[in-house]
């Protein structure tokens, strides 16, 4: 074998290797010489461009590439630049729509190689671009959902630093997203909420569930460090691996709802007063009658000293009796004006309320039994609202016993909660109604006799006190309403 033959064999070997390597590359590769002729092209390119070796190899680039690409990309000029400067051009974008074929998008690079050639590498990124555009579209959609929401939507990291802050949050707080990012969320809340926020974040992380709470958000529209009351739902924010990485906090301005609730409570209270009017009339006219008669006795000429004293004392005692009834009533009627949460002795609330309904119970032959053995059970709350809840429950119970019975009220402490049971011996609640008696406008009263708002108002008030309310009953065997409230911490 001659040397020539050896060299020729080696060349063939290298050319084979060279072509094999080029073909193995998943991108399209074209070798172009300094006359802008295609020297070679790999399999991927021929496949993609639906060309063959014959009409590609040793053909001018202008013949191989559609002229529209060459014009739009200035490809020829760029190849000349690379040939001249020996500097690679990389990651350029090229789009092409062949007749009848969807648009394809390529990234291409031009690399200088020896022997006055360049290597043109083209990568089809149509699919990636499509995907990333889809991702962007979804992201834009999600962002617009969050941005368009009238509720506050914000996210924080595990330490409570704000990550995102939507436009509703900007509007209510008066602080732009860029002003709050990286700051602690509690800084924008009412003074003293630092602990609440931190504890809530720990809670949702530990329990892996949402938590609802209420506190004020500072706002430029209200001064003196008092915010607007917001109902917040804290939810754990997860990453792709299910790890909690922060919190999503959704807040709703309660001002409107509060106003409505206040009106509802007031009107409900008036209807309760209406129900009690009969009992009250009876209870007040009795002492009035005694006073009236006693006063008339004193008018006679022949009243001895003992009887005169007796009459005066009866008058005095009965005026006291009537005025106590009026005072209780006044306290109940006006109590909705205070909304401040304070320390409340639940026992006193239960006792006062039981006394108020006792008049009504009496005219319906119902015995009211208040079985509370403690003198004091401290809870945090609004006394007037709690009284309204129990007033409602007691009156409901009385209503359920048209032909008499007994209303038993018990309060027991269970761990960190107090459980109040209101038990009647009335008509009971049908099984199907147990689930919706706390819904607004659910009523079992005949049309015109009840608004159906009583229990839903109880529900909202008890929820506001972080408690719970539920009913147990069997039709015909009375009903038990169970109210649970958290005890005042440290009591």
């Amino acid at each position: 074998m001659s040397d020539n033959q050896n060299i020729k064999d080696a060349n063939i070997h290298f050319e084979l290797l060279y072509n094999t390597l080029l073909d193995a590359i998943p991108s399209s590769v074209l070798m172009v010489d300094d006359k802008l002729y295609v020297v070679s092209a790999n399999q991927n390119y021929l496949l993609k461009s639906q060309r063959n070796r014959a009409n590609t190899f040793n053909r001018p680039l202008a013949e191989v590439f559609p002229s529209v690409i060459l014009e739009n990309t200035g490809l020829e000029e760029r190849i000349r630049t690379v040939l001249r400067t020996r500097m690679a051009i990389s990651a350029q974008k090229m789009t092409y729509r062949a007749p009848g074929v969807p648009i394809r998008i390529y990234y291409y690079s031009i690399l200088p190689v020896p022997f006055k050639q360049v290597m043109l590498i083209m990568e089809d990124v149509t699919e990636q671009i499509r995907l990333s555009e889809e991702v962007r579209r979804v992201e834009r959609h999600l962002a617009s959902v969050v941005e368009s929401a009238s509720d506050i939507v914000l996210s924080t990291d595990m330490d409570g630093r704000v990550l995102t802050w939507n436009s509703a949050a900007e509007k209510l707080s008066g602080l732009s997203s860029s002003e709050v990012q990286g700051q602690f969320f509690y800084q924008f809340c009412e003074v003293g909420q630092k602990q609440t926020v931190e504890e809530t974040l720990r809670y949702i992380n530990r329990k892996n569930e949402s938590f609802t709470t209420e506190f004020g958000l500072l706002t430029p529209y209200v001064s003196n460090n008092v915010g607007i009351l917001i109902s917040w739902v804290f939810s754990p924010m997860k990453d792709d691996y299910g790890q909690t990485v922060g919190a999503v906090i959704v807040g709703r301005d309660l001002a409107e709802r509060r106003k409505l609730e206040l009106q509802l409570r007031q009107s409900q209270k008036l209807s309760a007063l209406g129900i009690m009017a009969g009992g009250i009339a009876h209870e007040i006219r009795n002492p009035l009658a005694v006073c009236s008669s006693a006063a008339q006795f004193l008018l006679s000429d022949d009243v001895d000293w003992d009887f005169r004293m007796q009459c005066s004392m009866k008058i005095q005692a009965n005026i006291q009796k009537a005025s106590a009834i009026i005072e209780n009533l006044l306290r109940f009627a006006r109590s909705s004006l205070d909304t401040e949460m304070t320390e409340v002795n639940l026992c006193a609330v239960l006792k006062d309320t039981a006394e108020l309904v006792e008049n009504q119970a009496k005219v319906q032959k119902i015995k009211v039994k208040l079985l509370v053995h403690q003198e004091i059970i401290w809870v945090t709350g609004v006394a007037g609202l709690l009284q309204q809840v129990f007033m409602n429950l007691f009156l409901n119970a009385i209503n359920a016993m048209p032909s008499g019975g007994s209303l038993t009220i018990t309060a027991k402490i269970l761990d960190d909660r107090v459980v109040v049971q209101v038990v009647d011996t009335g008509v009971g609640i049908p099984l199907g109604d147990l689930d919706n008696i706390f819904d607004p406008f659910h009523t079992s009263s005949p049309v015109g006799q009840g608004t159906g708002l009583g229990l839903s108002i109880c529900y909202s008030i008890i929820q506001q006190h972080l408690g719970s309310i539920r009913a147990e009953s069997q039709l015909g065997e009375g009903a038990t309403i169970i109210v649970t409230l958290p005890l005042l911490i440290g009591s």
Partner: protein, 130 residues
Amino acid sequence: MKNAILIVDDEVDMCWAMEHILKSQGQPIVTATSGAEACARLSEGYYSLVFLDAKIPDMDGLDIARFAIKLPNYKPQIVMISGYHYANDPIVLHAIEDGLIVKFLAKPFTNDEILSLFHEYWKNMDLKQT
């Protein structure tokens, strides 16, 4: 059996007032402060006139009236005195129509009203023992 006035009211002070108003009339007066007590007195005695409260914890006044008019040996005249009803309350009008009560008087009242009711309805005779 001796004729007497029966006063039924769960309020002790009301009974006290009624007793003192009627005392001057020189007739025996008995008081009852519960429905059960009223029924017992009505059964065992003779009361031509009853002043009856409408709302008593253990019994409705009208139920006591229903019991009273069904007594086997006499029929008392029942005057209802109450702070619960008003003068032309449908319940009251029905009770009068049904003959359960003869008159209704709202609390508070004047002592003279009670006295004139006494004069109007008191039947001055004793129940003849059979």
